[in-house]
Symmetry: C2
Subunit: 316 residues, 2 copies
């Protein structure tokens, strides 16, 4: 099925064409590679903003209000929402339905959840491809919001031009742990729900931590206080995002960072492609199912099993 | 270097041997495959408990108290703590140092953080291997605690015998989003910090959601209230874990679930191995660096680049 005979609609930002393109990269469709080759040269104009932080921090409201702020400036906004889901069933998405009612019907805001992870992995790769699609489709801002805070999510947010980490006052005793993983990826920090008790303490703790952190680019991440539900602080957040965006594009480190991201993306793609090629060989899938059962019954171990699969593939 | 000439120390649960074995699977050492082939037949005796939930829910305290509870019953406990970290720098771990002071010096409790993710991925695989190592080394309970709540973390927790999801009262407006991703993986739910306001409301919301969820095994996940910092409810939690453990091992679905997990593990391993084999070929690494730079400079696109790498590898 030659879905992408013409890219005109996609590059004009026609929502249905955009949605279809994202579905193609998400599902690893055969024409996804051809699509992305056409998309890639058109990218680089959008500002890509990654937003992460623990569940309960109010990220969804913040993203919605930020999108509306950009829209009022006459911009087009694409939102990718990354949801954790089970690898065994695919998982359900509730978040989306709630969002749609607020901002989903606006023609200048495109919103899409990405969650289902097939057996071949690739959530990170698919998300980064979706961002490129939105960029090529003429969206001025692309916001990537992660519902979870995990390894994949950190990787995804790191590929944004500007990474925003959202905290709330009084995070409690896990704050040491959060800081470790998330601290280094924040170009801008937000303390949301800043009308709550404990905001000053959280700000002081954050400042103390940031003063210890050593950023090779010498950037001093701003801390913005917001109350997203009341639309407070959104303009300050947009200003902080802009200031880092201008800082990093002006830096010579821009190219080094882009090279690191490209390298990561290549490794992700390679891994996915190598496995996909192997799985397409006759009999591999059946062999895999049989070996999985043997392992479950403790008649085999995973390491011997993959050696058998690889050895067999090589004789073909 | 034949590090694993003898497995006696490892299978006796000698901490240094266990630590060394985990380092081997984490770093993808050459002898890791041989190690895991020896380890695998010795597994299956431990109860593996996965604990997840958003940062700030007090998971660390809960895990510590649960470990101490099991220890008082005369058991040996292994704890694997999965931390999100940056793919570009490796990330830092602060959580560990704090933990060590409480429980880390007990000879019946082994605690290890896993965070650093190399360029070849594999955090999930390494974590699952580490669990197998602790199982083979004679630990009665293996607790896998994730600091983040993301795609990788959900996958990891799903491979446990019993998955525990930790919530706190009044999670706020992101609760819809959390529920979606995490709901289906919980065999046991904990409302920690249950001395806080809003505990009844959170319990009611959770019950309502669980009543909607359809579990193919007809298990009705219990909800346990705890105050980990005061050691309250820990015995109830241990009882709930035990009841699901007994339920699932008694089920005929046990083997189907183990097969699904084995299949997932095989795919993870295969992906890692295929990439690793490719990277070991002469010149691949240099080629990758060159292509990454071309992509950063927009002289090439990632999809054309990986085709070039794969085509070149095949001619060798």
């Amino acid at each position: 099925m030659p879905v992408f005979e013409s890219f005109t609609e996609l590059f004009n930002g026609q929502p249905r064409a955009v949605a279809r393109a994202i579905t193609a990269v998400e599902s690893g469709a055969d024409d996804a590679a051809a699509l992305m080759k056409a998309v890639y040269p058109k990218t680089g104009k959008a500002t890509v903003v990654g937003i992460t932080g623990s569940p309960g921090a109010g990220k969804s409201s913040l993203v919605d209000k930020l999108a509306l702020y950009y829209k009022d400036l006459g911009e087009k906004i694409g939102i990718i929402c990354v949801d954790p889901s089970s690898p065994f069933s695919g998982g359900a998405i509730l978040g989306d339905r709630i969002r749609m009612s607020t901002i989903g019907l606006d023609k200048n805001i495109f919103i899409r959840s990405m969650a289902t992870r097939g057996n071949l992995g690739g959530l990170s790769r698919a998300t980064v491809d979706a961002v490129s699609i939105l960029d090529a489709a003429g969206f001025d801002k692309v916001i990537v919001e992660t519902v979870g805070v995990g390894q994949d999510e950190v990787e995804i947010v790191k590929t944004a031009d500007v990474s925003v980490v959202v905290l709330v006052p009084g995070m409690g005793d896990d704050i040491q742990a959060i800081k470790a993983g998330i601290m280094e990826i924040g170009d801008v920090f937000v303390i949301n729900k800043a009308d709550r008790e404990g905001v000053i303490r959280t700000q002081k703790e954050l400042e103390a931590l940031l003063s210890l952190a050593h950023r090779p680019d010498m950037w001093n991440p701003p801390i913005v206080r917001t109350v997203a539900t009341e639309s407070k602080g959104i303009e300050d957040l947009a200003a902080a995002i802009k200031s880092y965006y201008e800082f990093q594009t002006g830096e010579s480190r821009g190219i080094a960072r882009k090279t690191a991201i490209a390298r990561w993306r290549l490794l992700e793609l390679l891994q996915e492609r190598l496995l996909s090629d192997l799985m397409k060989q006759n009999g591999t899938r059946e062999k895999l199912d049989k070996l999985a059962q043997q392992i479950a019954e403790k008649q085999n171990d995973p390491y011997s099993a993959i050696e058998a699969i690889i050895a067999e593939a090589r004789t073909k």
